[in-house]
Amino acid sequence: MKKEKTEELIVKWIDGQLTSEEEVQLAGLFQENENLEAELQEMKSVSESVTEKIPASVDPPYCDFFGSQLMRKVDLEIQSRTPSKIGERLVKSFQWAWAPVGALALVLSFFAGHRISRPAEVTAAQEQEEGRLIQFLPTVYFAGESLEAEVISDSDGDVSAIFVHGLAAIRDDIDFATITTGAELPKSYARSEARRFD
């Protein structure tokens, strides 16, 4: 018989969980080794003593304090997961503002342009290359001093991202769809200065 099977039979015998088939198998082992049964009886009595002498349940010392301390930690955990009601109310009360702000940002990003800044040192070759590339970039107009925009394009000018910083009102009396040059815009709309292409 395999060692593992023998161990299993012994463990189950101590716990009184042998099936009838396993009982027959163990009886065979008892016949082979006449000391085995006495040995297992001793092992069984040790197991029973452990069950009898070691308590399964022992209240922690200062169990009242144990409970209160734990519940304090639970309360802290609950609080850490719940946003403060005031903060929640504030966020809710300003929710209406996000729609017009978002729409305004979209409109401004459409009409606003890019600002290209120049690095400290630019070589002549780079300047020449930039001059060639800049002509593919759109001219961008700023609605007032408070607005800034920048365009980041790939080297072919096929893909562009426009970042708009700040907010400014758009005048209702200007029809942006029909304007083709900066000259047609009011003076407060400054034309972007093309300086460098990244």
Binding site: E4, M43, V58, P60
Partner: protein, 208 residues
């Protein structure tokens, strides 16, 4: 002290709220229900931790940690699982993490530090009521003391297997789930742990 051998899941009588109902309430973040659940199970968790690490103060802290983890994980607890097995599994993880941190597992050193009662002024208004000490039940029992010291010499896995089987009364499958091992491993650990305990206790008897 709760009587040994009763199932933690059977903690509720007919007129009491069952564990299942308490767990459902806890999953809706009912702290009061959780407090009841803690009162019902803290004894078993503390006894298990204390018997594993043999240090009252750390056992107290670790038991707190177990229940805090239980609270955090309860929303994910599935009703078809057995709560006590799940609770012992969390206890197992907390104890093993602690042992790993302390790096005492391989060395087999066990800190026998005891909470110093003399540090607390007798009759102080803030002194909490003390109900029981884990070793009280063993203090007046010579055999209990010997068993306790024999258990302390077993390696962590063997000690835990014995405690889960003989003391907490889990069946083989539950032990395998708690310890994250196969049924065969449980059988083997039980066999060798029992054999070692038998040898240790017989040796001591011989010395006496």
């Amino acid at each position: 002290m709760a009587p040994a051998g009763t199932s933690p899941d059977a903690g509720a009588g007919d007129d009491e709220i069952s564990d299942h109902q308490l767990i459902e309430a806890c999953q809706k973040r009912d702290a009061k229900a959780f407090e009841t659940l803690v009162i019902r199970h803290r004894g078993r968790v503390y006894a298990m931790v204390q018997n594993m690490i043999k240090n009252e103060a750390d056992a107290w802290d670790l038991s707190q940690e177990v229940f805090l983890k239980v609270w955090k994980a309860l929303p994910k607890f599935e009703a078809r699982a057995k709560f006590s097995t799940w609770l012992y599994r969390i206890t197992h993880n907390v104890v093993y993490d602690w042992l790993r941190k302390r790096k005492i597992e391989s060395a087999g050193e066990l800190d026998d530090g005891i909470l110093n009662e003399s540090d607390i002024a007798a009759g102080a208004r803030t002194t909490p009521t003390k109900i029981a000490r884990p070793d009280d039940a063993l203090a007046n029992s010579e055999l209990g003391r010997r068993i306790n010291s024999a258990l302390a010499t077993l390696n962590t896995e063997h000690r835990e297997t014995i405690l889960l089987r003989e003391v907490q009364g889990l069946d083989y499958k539950e032990i395998a789930k708690v310890m994250g091992c196969s049924l065969g491993t449980v059988m083997s650990r039980l066999y060798y742990a029992r054999k070692k305990l038998q040898t240790l206790l017989c040796d001591e008897k011989g010395k006496d």
